[in-house]
């Protein structure tokens, strides 16, 4: 039976989510073979996200049935204040199964999604927002030029927004192509094709440029747009066909796939590219402040402010808690 009054009923405000919510999907079933560097990659991913995102955000990590070591690591990261929301699934729901949950549940108006093997560079968010907010009918924006057209030339939305004359071409610098190809371990012929084929480029009235095409590896989007494509089919662990349904629905609704001409994110894959290693090392050795909310300065009446200042002094906590419990006993048992 209820004894006393639930303190949560007092008129304290609940946490208000940030404008931007970023989600990361983790699946590291063991730390052998393909996943032997899984924890290092995951750490680099999370720390690059925190070190190089220059706006407040809420981070949701969805663990899709990883091994005990990874779950423990994520719990430690959350306890240390790096992860706002941690969803731990006992089993692997598949990528689209997790996306169904993430995209439906995140309360933030702008949602960013990323696989957990993506490295973020400083400036990625602003460059992505410039495109998301600078073009009409934007669906998803990836912070890396899109070389692979997941819609296989069948996308229709871009043709509804841009005339052929408005679509220019863009030849990325060779290092951009090389970095991308190393990230996906592209065979020589594919690398050669990416080096020789220009990418379709559009720009807005303010001169912001965007490559046509985006990837479900990493993107940002408006929540209201993402909610329109749910639920996605979810029967496979990692399926290009099921991933493609997401992109197809975005396009069918008339929303654009766009990406930044500059690679603000890099696909690390399952090992860290030696050429990326210095950037990763720099992030891991940077002192980053945890994104926990600043402790509120005591406000209100003079006695409340005085009490707040006193409570900040560590030795007093024990006495305040004892007083709290004593007052509860006095007033709850009647």
């Amino acid at each position: 039976m209820r004894i006393g009054q639930n303190p949560a009923r007092i008129d304290t405000p609940a946490y208000t989510p940030q404008k931007i919510g970023l989600a990361s999907l983790v699946f590291i079933p063991h730390l052998e073979g393909y996943f032997q560097h899984g924890l290092s990659i995951l750490r680099a991913h999370l720390m690059s996200l925190h070190a190089h995102t220059e706006a407040p955000f809420d981070l949701l990590v969805f663990d899709n049935g990883s091994c005990r070591e990874v779950k423990d690591f994520l719990n430690e990261m959350q306890a240390a204040g790096w992860i706002r929301w941690l969803i731990s699934s006992e089993v692997n729901l598949g990528k689209t199964g997790a996306l169904n949950w993430i995209m439906a549940a995140l309360p933030n108006p702008i949602i960013g999604y990323s696989d957990s093997d993506v490295f973020f560079r400083r400036g990625w968010l602003q460059a992505s927002l410039d495109i998301l907010e600078g073009f009409a009918q934007v669906g998803i924006v990836t912070a890396q030029p899109c070389f692979f057209d997941i819609l296989r030339g069948e996308g229709k939305a871009a043709a509804g927004v841009f005339t052929p004359e408005q679509v220019g071409s863009y030849v990325p610098e060779a290092w951009v192509v090389e970095e991308y190809c190393r990230g996906i371990n592209a065979p020589a012929d594919l690398r050669q094709r990416y080096l020789s084929n220009p990418l379709p480029l559009v720009h807005n009235a303010r001169g912001v440029k965007a490559v046509l095409g985006a990837s479900h590896m990493q993107f940002i989007a408006y929540r209201e747009v993402l909610q329109r494509v749910l639920p996605l089919p979810a029967t496979r662990g990692l399926s290009p066909e099921e991933d493609r349904v997401f992109n197809q629905r975005i396009d069918d609704l008339g929303y654009l796939h766009l990406s930044t001409p500059h690679p603000w994110v890099v696909h690390m894959g399952n090992t860290i590219d030696p050429q990326l290693q210095p950037e990763v090392e720099a992030v891991l050795h940077t002192a980053v402040v945890t994104p926990s909310q600043p402790v509120a300065t005591p406000a209100g009446s003079l006695p409340r402010r005085w009490l707040g200042r006193l409570a900040k002094a560590k030795p007093f906590k024990r006495y305040f808690v004892q007083l709290y419990n004593a007052l509860y006993e006095i007033y709850s048992e009647r």
């Binding site: 303190p7 009923r9 007092i10 304290t12 079933p29 894959g269 590219d273 007083l323 709290y324």
Partner: protein, 314 residues
């Protein structure tokens, strides 16, 4: 860089979530005062939910910023395979904020929601789903009968009274023991409960051989996820008090709100008194009159709330 092929690409079939997700919302910011017994209450809740629910389900626990001891317990429960989905929030999103995430994200077609202080009896889920699937256009089913606000029953009663297939009866269909145990669990005094019982009546609806009591409540209910989606999002501004909107809006939208005729769940509140051990009256206090002197009482309760905010409100 990628070396080799990601084995996840060869996972041809992933686990399919059960049709029903049972979602428990938990918030225990510390283990003293009001929350002194709450970890035991939570254990009792989670133990009972798994015992003979009558239908298979996945268990989701949403922890809304509890203390480390409670989160450790939940993590150990997940490791033991008792929780399929564990959602740990660093901050208290309030009940409305947590609902926005649970009710939109939970993978089941049917969501059975409960606060963390609900005790479940065998068959609670199968009986509730039977009502959900027998009556048409059901919004929510609560798994025990009790007296609810009549203003939130208007659509349910209007449907029943206008449907020749439904037998509508008004009367005392909640036995005294069932009525008393629930009212007492909310901390009401026995004499007040007796007086209320004398005057309260409820409506029993029988449709296609299945009976239900009109009414439902937001502390425990079973509903279709697609129906709940119509009422999202909820206001997130305050930790509690927003979720009554569900009762009101579901009635306004013309959905039925129903309860089982027999108690299949119980409200424990913040102690196990009356559940696992007999209720004992508090020891008499000599200085009762002093503590109840209005200005002192107001000042001390104010102090009590202020300390909670200073240390425990995340």
């Amino acid at each position: 860089m990628r070396v080799g092929q990601n084995p996840a690409k060869f996972v041809h079939q992933v686990a399919r979530p059960e049709r029903i997700t049972v979602a428990i919302l938990n918030y225990i910011p510390f283990l003293s005062g009001f929350y002194a017994e709450m970890l035991d209450v939570l254990r009792t809740c989670l133990d009972s939910v798994r015992q003979d629910a009558g239908l298979p389900f996945d268990l989701l626990v949403f922890d809304n910023g509890s203390c480390a001891e409670v989160q450790d317990y939940l993590l150990s429960e997940q490791r033991a395979g008792h929780i399929q989905y564990l959602f740990l929030s660093e901050k208290n999103l309030g009940k409305g904020g947590a609902w926005n995430i649970i009710l939109s994200g939970a993978p089941g077609e049917i969501i059975a929601y409960a606060d963390n202080d609900v005790l479940f009896y065998p068959g609670w889920l199968s009986e509730s789903v039977r009502l959900l699937e027998t009556f048409p256009r059901v919004g929510m089913v609560t798994s025990r009968p009790f007296i609810t606000k009549r203003e939130y029953l208007t659509h349910t009663l209007a449907w029943a009274q206008n449907n020749p297939e439904v037998q509508v009866e008004e009367g005392k269909f909640i036995p005294w023991e069932t009525y008393y145990e629930f009212a007492r669990s909310l901390g009401q005094e026995p004499e007040v409960i007796r007086q209320d019982f004398e005057k309260d009546t409820c409506f029993r609806l029988t449709y296609r051989g299945v009976s239900a009591i009109a009414g439902a409540s937001h502390w425990q209910f079973v509903a279709y996820k697609s129906v709940l989606a119509e009422f999202l999002p909820f206001d997130m501004n305050r930790p509690m008090g927003q979720v009554k909107q569900l009762d009101e809006r579901m009635n306004q939208a013309g959905y039925l709100r129903l309860m089982l005729t027999e108690p299949r769940v119980m409200n424990m509140s913040n102690t196990l008194r009356g559940i696992h051990r007999p209720e004992t009256p508090p020891a008499p206090r000599i200085s009762r009159r002093l503590w109840d002197w209005a200005p002192l009482r107001a000042a001390l309760l104010n102090l009590h709330d202020a300390i909670f905010r200073l240390y425990f409100d995340r």
